[in-house]
């Protein structure tokens, strides 16, 4: 066996992940030399700088030609680069909102930010993975970091419960995924996704049961990761128990990376197996997730739990975009999903590129809105109330418009964006997803999507009602300001509002990002 020789240039595509890992190592090492009372303000700054650098590199890479990297274990394509950009945005904003959060709890440590950066390096690499073992390893890299982050605040029962629950179910879902991958390896004799397409056709003839089971198990594993109904049970408890900035990272970053990997895996598998299988799988998941997530969010008075259920609902809209990827000839599949005539009938390439763009744009929009909303939650919560469970009650938001008009405006923008009301980025991204779904002929699912998003607006508006239309409660606590939180709010509000009105460079990047390697 000969060791592969890699030149320095071969590592260039991994630069964002390398930057994040280096940043994390600096954080870990420098922490050793600090006393308990030293100032740790540099840690968040370093994290943000690292993520900005990684994001900038990712944007530059979007214009690189798609190719295999690291001997075919990974790929560099605009799709993965855009996703790395999304992850960088997410981790940068989450780190900013952690500053005040950790200081209030006396829990500022370099490990926290280092774990965040490790997790995001895992996310970035996961989006690039083109081989099932690499994919699994990267899932574990990001998962183990987030397990630790979830239980980072060890005091109290909630974080431990959340961390344990997340760990058990996360490990279970990873095992399911791995088992599915093993079956696929058994059927095709390779773990490389690009190499798998060829033998898959033959394996389908020889051992259809093996292939189908593998595909379904891999799908179930991913469904756990992205919290699709009915694999969503862990989400609200974990998001509620985790520190709010970590919930933000999980709801946006982890989900984005898992979506990217899922799209890549199934897109490749879809070329070998009957695409109707993934279409049926994702249509059913999308339907259940959109309806279930929105209906379950309606009765929540706890804003953090509401955001958790809302993140489930948003996974549903994204699944709608994923389902649109697998429509080969509109109307031939299921009459139930939509009429054959009412479609764009765009050439398959165009339609799929549109769906990929929709998914990426939606992930970006969701990242800005959800991370912003979690930052607001973390700004309002107090440690004393966590055990009582009132730290995240809607009551917290009463009269916010009078106490902190800027915050109330920001939160209103996030809520409207999550609800998909123009002129916000949330509307534009929903539009792109719906456009590709209609183009693919999934009219029925699109109607379900718009109706469930109308139901969703009800619970988003409730937050706005409390902020703007309720009086300030008696004896309300003083709202502390923190530069990190405020900066995170300003950046995400600006993005949510401005990108909803002016396309900016994002759409130019998106034009690129509809390219998936091997298509």
């Amino acid at each position: 066996m000969t060791l592969p020789s890699l030149s320095l240039a071969d590592f260039f595509p991994l630069l964002p992940a390398i930057l994040m890992v280096v940043g994390a190592c600096i954080l870990l090492l420098s922490e050793v030399f600090l006393s308990a009372t030293s100032s740790r303000a540099y840690q968040a700054v370093l994290t943000v700088v690292t993520s900005v650098a990684a994001g900038a590199v990712a944007v530059a890479m979007m214009f690189e030609p798609p190719r295999e990297v690291m001997l075919g274990f990974g790929v560099l394509d605009p799709f993965s680069s855009f996703l790395t950009f999304v992850v960088s945005v997410c981790v940068g904003l989450a780190a900013l909102s952690s500053v005040g959060f950790l200081r209030n709890r006396g829990a500022e440590r370099g490990e926290f930010y280092a774990l965040m950066l490790f997790a995001s390096a895992g996310m970035s690499l996961l989006a690039m993975s083109n081989e099932l073992i690499t994919l699994f390893v990267n899932i574990e890299v990001l998962s183990i970091a987030t397990y630790a982050l979830t239980a980072y605040l060890r005091r109290g029962t909630r974080p431990s419960e959340a961390g344990f629950k997340y760990f058990i179910l996360g490990a279970f879902s990873s095992a399911v995924l791995l088992y599915g991958a093993a079956l696929l390896y058994g059927a095709t004799g390779t773990t490389n996704l690009s190499a798998m397409v060829g033998p898959l056709g033959g394996a389908m003839q020889a051992q259809p049961a093996l292939v189908y089971t593998g595909v379904v198990l891999v799908g179930a594993g991913f469904a756990f990761k992205i919290a699709a109904v009915p694999f969503h049970m862990w989400t609200p408890d974990v998001y509620e128990g985790a520190p709010s900035p970590v919930s933000a990272l999980m709801s946006a970053g982890v989900k984005a990376a898992a979506f990217a990997a899922m799209v890549r895996v199934f897109f490749t598998l879809g070329q070998g197996i009957d695409p109707r299988l993934p279409l049926a799988l994702f249509s059913a998941l999308a339907f259940l997730t959109m309806v279930g997530g929105n209906l379950l969010a309606i009765p929540q008075r706890n804003v953090k739990r509401m955001l958790a259920y809302s993140s489930i609902a948003h996974a549903g809209y994204l699944l709608l975009g994923v389902a649109a990827l697998f429509v080969t000839a509109p109307g031939e599949q299921f009459r139930l999903l939509g009429p054959s005539e009412l479609t764009g009938g765009s050439p398959l390439d165009l339609a799929r590129a549109g769906a990929l763009r929709g998914i990426l744009y939606y992930l970006l929009a969701y990242t800005f809105s959800a991370v912003g909303a979690f930052a607001m939650v973390s700004a309002l919560e107090r440690r004393e109330d966590e055990e009582k469970g009132t730290a995240w009650d809607l009551e917290r938001f009463s009269g916010l418009a009078q106490r902190r008009p800027g915050w109330a405006f920001a939160m209103a923008a996030f809520m409207l964006s999550l609800g998909g009301i123009p002129p916000t980025i949330g509307f534009m991204s929903k539009l792109l997803i719906f456009q590709s779904a209609v183009d693919a002929g999934l009219i029925g699912l699109t109607i379900v999507a718009v109706l469930s998003s109308a139901a969703g607006v009800y619970y988003y508006l409730r937050v706005v009602v409390y902020m703007f239309m309720r009086p300030v409660p008696e004896g309300a606590q003083v709202l502390e300001r923190n530069w990190g939180t405020e900066l995170a709010l300003v950046v995400s509000t600006a993005a949510v509002v401005v990108l909803g009105i002016i396309p900016g460079p994002i759409t130019a990047w998106l034009e690129q990002a509809g390219t998936l390697f091997g298509r």
Binding site: P339, E341, L342, T343, G344, G345, S346, P347, L350, R357, A401, Q402, P405, L416, I421, P422, P423, F427, M428, L431, L432, F434, Q435, V438, D439, I443, T446, I447, V450, L451, S453, A454, V457, Y458, L461, R462, V465, F468, M469, P503, T507, L510, E511
Partner: protein, 574 residues
Amino acid sequence: MSFFDNHLLNLVVFLPLLFAALVLVLPASEAGQIRTVTLIGMLVDAVFGVWAYMRYVPGGPEFQLEYRVPWFEMFGTSYHIGVDGLAVSLLLLTVFLGPLVVMASTTYISHRIKEFHLALLVLQTTMLGALVSLDVLLFYIFFEAMLIPMYLMVGVWGAEDRQMAAVKFFLYTLAGSLLMLVAIIAVYFISAPAGSRSFDYAAIYNGLLDANRQLSACAAGPEGACDSLTGLARTLYTWGPWLFGAFALAFAIKVPMWPVHTWLPDAHVQAPVAGSMILAGVMLKMGTFGFWRFAIPFFPVATQGARPFLAVLSVIGIVYGALMCLAQRDIKKLIAYSSVSHLGYCMLGILAVTAEGATGSAYQMLNHGVSTGALFLLFGFLYERRHTRLMADFGGIAKVMPMFTTAFLIITFSSVAVPGTNGFIGEFLVLLGTFKSDLGAAAGNVHLTAVFGAFATLGVILGAAYMLWMVQKVFFGGLTHRENQHLPDLSLREGVTVLPFLILVLVMGLMPQPFLDRINPSTERFLARARVGTPGATVDPSQVRVEVMSLPSKQTAAAPSAPVPLAAVPSTRQ
């Protein structure tokens, strides 16, 4: 077209937003400054709005003062604005109401003044934007965005049940318009082949036109006319009614037509005086405007099928609204239900598809904005003095507030369509148009036309009854309540606010021609487009096709809206 003409509409639309930015930097405690800046903003905007109204040449091209630049090209849209006769008339109404609404709220709004004026200015921009949008998606964005400031206005500055009313208003409207969004996307896809798609109004309309003509010819049917239907025509045959339904539902909720009107009484009653004035004055017109501009021209054949049904709903709305008014004890609710009734006329006039009906309907849209806006304004003054909405708490007010009573009476006459006021012209034309229409034939029996007309006329009579009955109870008779003995009459500020309404009632009633001149070209085009769906009707092709400016960029080559010389358009006369 000069530079100024190009940007005139941009100026009108975004000037309020500019002043909102100005208000934003003022300190919240400076109520006087905030009000003054807002008022100046609205007045300047009104000046430019009137200017735009004057610049509109009635005999010119359909859309004037156009402006178009690329915007979110990836989505297939562009920033494209321009006005036709109806839009410029409604624009005039909107900028006319703007400053008056600010003046009406001077004393009514006493807390969170800065936020209120911000909401007012943003609302103005979104409403004007919706009126001038020539891109369907742009229209949709403004159409939805206007919900946000209105929702805040009802929910923050409204009466006791404001939160419920605000949420109901928002969700009701949103549910309808989201379905329309799916329909818009579907229409976008079917109206042109891949690569040349656009959300532009002209692109979509012209894309559907030939299919609509074929379908219409097929329905009129010499044998074999249906054999050569294109794919698009067949799609429209199957799914046109559904798409039309989605558009119609969204706009019907906004109008509101019976039976989806239930959000309106709540929202109107709970809203502050400014909210009610804008809601009644402009926002409801977005529904009728939507039918006129989008729903009916896009789907004339489906419209033809649904006309009797929609006309029945309109007539029910007219009569039901009037009957509900007769049963009210709450004055504001009465005015709200009278809106349901009046907007029923607007819808009936549109659905009649006759010159009189459509003109009357467009005129009635303006009238209703003036008269109902003024009614809410005047009632707002009364409410500020007594803080009650019940008729029983008043009586004999004429003795203590003679000027107020005079103003109220004049507006009442306009509302019940007394000859000489603006209301008369609108309602008369609508009724005339209904009697002359083929609604009965469309419904299956020629004599049914008279039934529609008769019920609509009944609405007029009932309208006079409930308004005069209310006036009598509130203003005449003896002073039954001691609290009312010392009510002050109109102050100077209030008088100045009401005066423009009174003048407009008389001007529009006695000199309708300048207003009708601008509406007429739109009416003719609307009729031509609606008649594409009428089997056997003769349609002038030059009136049908939509001509707009194309994007001044690389897209021009691929744009489906590239103007085709009129001579090249095949005529489908039969």
